[in-house]
Amino acid sequence: MLELAWLIPALPLVGFVVLVLAGRRLGEPAAGWLGTVMVAASFVVSCVVFAGLAANGGDPFTQTLFTWIPAGDFVVDIGLYLDPLSGVMILFVTGISALIHLYSIGYMHGDPNFSKFFIYLNLFVFSMLVLILGDNLLLTFLGWEGVGACSYLLISFWFDKPANATAGKKAFVTNRIGDWGFLVAIFMVFFTFGSLNYADILPEAGGLAQTTATFIAVMLFIGAIGKSAQLPLSVWLPDAMAGPTPVSALIHAATMVTAGVYLLSRVNPIIAASADWVPDLIAWTGAITALAAAFVAVAQNDIKKVLAYSTVEMLGFMFLAVGIGSYWTAIFLMVVHAFFKALLFLCAGSVIHGMHENQDMRVMGGLRVLMPVTFITYVAGWLSLAGIPPFSGFFGKDEILIYTFQENKALWVVGMLAAFLTAVYIGRQAFMVFFGEERWHEQMARLAVVPPGAAEQAEDEAVEALGEDATDAQVEALVASDAAAGDEVIFHPVPEGFRPHESKWHMTVPLIVLAVLSLVGGLLNLPFPKSAHFLEEWLAPVFEGSATKLTLSTGTIVIMLVVSTVVAVVGTLVAAYIWLQRRVEARRLEPALFANAWYYDAAISRFVGGPGTTAFEATATFDATVVDGAVNGVGGGVTRAGQALRETQTGYVRRYALAIGVGTLLMMAYMISRVVA
């Protein structure tokens, strides 16, 4: 059964190729069904392969398909590496991808580029599976770049709006910074081990010099924070919400962004061999990112932006788990997060669809009656993310917090605070969207409230901030970044007598499946009894030797669980008190600092617009004078020498003949002199 593994990435690839060749002819909805069926088939094969892997007791299995790069000592194969970790990953990636493909058939209905969307989606699934299943770092990197490219293409899928195209570019450029780290790590691994295969390097990692291991681990960490949107490279993920909502659910919540966590988990022996500060760095990066993102999520008004910052936060929790060495909890949260965050995004998509493409939560409200299926499924995702038992998010997050409590109390406090804010912001979203009074009729009135000349004012502020001699492009960039981070409301006019409506079955079926998964996902690994630690047992061989052991007593764990539950419930109640009952002026709890994401984007814009531009210009000048000067100088010298020599080329045949004659005489004289001497 394991031999079928090659089919898992091959099926989406076939779908991609067929759609590229015949996508337009297939049209809607056949192109979507083809893509969906291919990914669903891949899921079925994954189940079969997983069963085979389980029957073998999780022994790693390598399938080499062919040699990719045979270059002397440097040989890279196209091969698949199946172990418990990649087994879990392929299951949830293909499963959720199939559901989101199905959802997309409904969501992308009527889009002129319907088939193109599925081309990209299938290519994405293929790349993601290559990333997961690749048996060497280079193949993983290939998938890594593949998902990055698909992410770029899908974020700017509606590229006729400049903001979407910009968001795509931002994601791409930010990811490049991380990819640099990944590439350097690959070079270093090859330099050290002479091989890139996981099967060769992972068992050997324990014998690494600490400096080497530290270097590799830090470089891979840089790659991981780029892909998984951790500070300081977190800026691209909120903007990535410019893409269609299924893309946000699939790529920017469930699968691609978890690639960084997957990579760090994969190379756990290298992290274990590195200096002590590396895991601390990972854990603190994750914890601080989680807290910062949670604060920001409380003040966002765009329904998808809340979920985007929430994703950044949850990825922060996963990094925290990796940092404290409880790798399997990171994978656990990754899986259940994929369930409930994909669900929340798909619900958000359903709401946006029902609300006539409006995304601002301030114009929603009371939707629970009008969109019952979306509402009920959303509740599963909401309570899961908030961490209310028995929903899966509770177990996922609390395993991490329990381990953190054992390892580092300060990190635990940060994590608990973030968990509390999670319950608050997702409660806020739930109450603003589904409860309370219907607010979408107010929007015409709200439009009138926006003062005329607001745009000019924003521009004046930007000019003030940058100084008078700022160029127009810089001002525009700053205005755009402020607007992107800030408070701007984009209304899509709705027809008279508009009522939000429930979505079609294509969209509701995935919601229901994901809601059920969110509800029962905790069964993968219940804290009690010990025999219910399925995921931990299953993943144990992968993390052997580098994983942290849980030594807390049962009583402590129970107390931890109770504390977490209380925090989640209190957070939800606080949200209800503020945003449902409206006892407190909510605006005061949503300061501009958080609404603008700590002004991090604006700070980057300002930096790049000011000193950054100066530095770039200095580099350009250096390039033009020194580098180009050297090149042009050589060229100019040759040209001048040629011009000087051209003078001898008079065109008089007789002169050439004379030159030949004189030359011959000189040669003869030389030879004769040699002979005589």
Binding site: T650, G651, Y652, R654
Partner: protein
């Protein structure tokens, strides 16, 4: 080596010098071509003379090669001269200077 054999070499040296001198001083392309031929044949004479003196057939073989090359050269050279005179009757070798790059 007797006087007669040295005479061949002297004669070929004289012929070569006449050809070279003519090539350098005349401007009529046809005359110049004839001078080149004269030089070639002077060299041929040298080859044959040395072949005889040293009893080596190679000298005569090379002459055959030179004749073939000279024939080819004359074809090209006369072709150029004819084309030139058609385009610009009475042109001298110096006038070809305008073709210079």
């Amino acid at each position: 080596m007797d006087g007669v054999d040295a005479g061949y070499l002297v004669l070929s040296a004289i012929l070569f010098s006449i050809g070279a001198f003519g090539l350098l001083v005349r401007r009529n392309p046809l005359i110049m071509l004839m001078c080149v031929e004269l030089m070639l044949n002077a060299v041929n004479l040298t080859f044959v003379a040395f072949g005889m003196m040293l009893g080596d057939l190679a000298g005569q073989v090379i002459v055959l090669f030179v004749l073939v090359v000279a024939a080819a050269e004359v074809v090209v050279g006369l072709g150029i001269i004819v084309a030139m005179s058609r385009r610009r009757p009475g042109a001298t070798a110096d006038d070809i200077r305008v073709l210079r790059g």
